[in-house]
Amino acid sequence: MSLLKPFSKLPELNTANILLVENEEQFQQILAETIVLLKKNVNVNVRLARSLPLPIENEKFRPRIDLVVFIINLTSELSYQSAEVSLKFLDPDYFLGKVCFLVTNARNASVPPERLISVRKLVASLHCPLLFAEDQMTDGVNTAAHRLLAILKVTSGHVPMATGLYLSSLTRCTVPSDIDQQNFD
């Protein structure tokens, strides 16, 4: 099984690697460009993928991945399902703070509310943080890029006295007990 393992490779100096996994490839391209253009002191490499498992040919050249971001578009059921399937190919050690979920189009009226609830339940069961992003406007993309960069800095060790596990225990998604009775009228 080609699991993606966090600690199987040595880290590089002053670099951080982030992997964006999205079934449709629209948002990850824009997000990747924005992240690279942000001002920072760290070299950030952004890798893109449609789903896990990653192709074995690149296994040797691939550096250590510090943060895996699953981008789920709420308007398509396929996006959610492919993210669910990809989760199986991730080593459990990643879920201790090195995985983050990013949801787009949550404000869209055509989205059935059950999908968001099921996404929240999935993320809460994995104890990971859940971010919401606006992908249509540049401001939204910028905000999402900033937030991801902040989390990336923590998980790659560039923030002293903080690790990914520490941060995720503070920011992890929780599901309120009355979530099944929520309606947003």
Binding site: L13, N14, N41, P160, G164
Partner: protein, 237 residues
């Protein structure tokens, strides 16, 4: 030589900061010393993560997910408590450091130290004043509460007295009126009895005069008596 001096001064500033990198804004140019320190911190952070992973791998016990879920809140609580104590201790440490610096400064003879001394003396005076004023306000407060207690007592007493007065008013007619009525009834019964007796005696007298066939019109005394007899009627049958 200049370069060495620069390096020495930058290392000195770093030592003051406790060998933690000062947070530089993103994208700004860093001096190499700070950059080296930052990379060193990154490496130590990553090594820490890896040692944590190794340690967690050593003590593996097989348990179900529900057991783990049950234990999780306890561990989270201990973590939170550790974080809080650490934060409090850091705060206390900073306080001590600041106090130390201030006391050191006060002992010197700078114009700044003079200003600080004046400030501390002024604040001491103000604190004394505050203390005396607080004492006075406490005493006044005590007096106020004593007066309020007295007023409350008086109110209660007046209330009771008013109640008593009202009770007496409603009941006070009664016992006197009762006796009066009793006496009146008694007197009336006596009166009736004597009236009956008088009527009976007068009837008897009338009968005697008529039966004796005396001409009472000629004798003035008899005439008087007979006249008065006619007026009197029996009051009740």
């Amino acid at each position: 030589m200049d370069r060495l001096e620069d390096l020495a001064s930058s290392l000195e500033t770093l030592a003051f900061h406790g060998f933690q990198t000062p947070t530089v804004g993103n994208g700004e140019k860093e001096s190499p010393a700070i950059e080296i320190l930052r990379i060193k911190e990154q490496m130590s952070n990553q090594c820490f993560e890896m040692t944590v992973k190794l340690q967690s791998g050593e003590s593996k016990r097989s348990c179900s997910a529900s057991d783990a879920e049950k234990d999780l809140p306890d561990y989270v609580n201990t973590l939170e408590e550790a974080k809080i104590t650490h934060f409090n201790k850091t705060l206390a440490l900073h306080r001590m450091q600041v106090w130390h610096v201030i006391s050191e400064k006060l002992k010197q003879r700078d114009p700044e130290a003079e200003a600080m001394r004046k400030l501390t003396n002024h604040s001491l005076d103000l604190c004394l004043k505050i203390k005396t004023l607080q004492q006075e306000s406490f005493e006044l407060q005590d007096q106020i509460t004593a007066l309020q207690k007295q007023r409350l007592d008086l109110k209660r007493l007046t209330h009771e007295k008013m109640k008593e007065m009202e009770e007496l008013k409603t009941k006070g007619e009664h016992p006197v009126a009762e006796e009066y009525r009793n006496v009146l009834q008694k007197a009336q019964s006596y009166l009736e009895k004597y009236q009956k007796m008088v009527a009976i005696e007068q009837n008897v007298l009338r009968g005697i005069i008529i039966a004796s066939k005396v001409n009472w019109r000629e004798d003035p005394k008899l005439r008087e008596i007979a006249m008065t007899l006619e007026d009197i009627t029996i009051s009740d049958d």
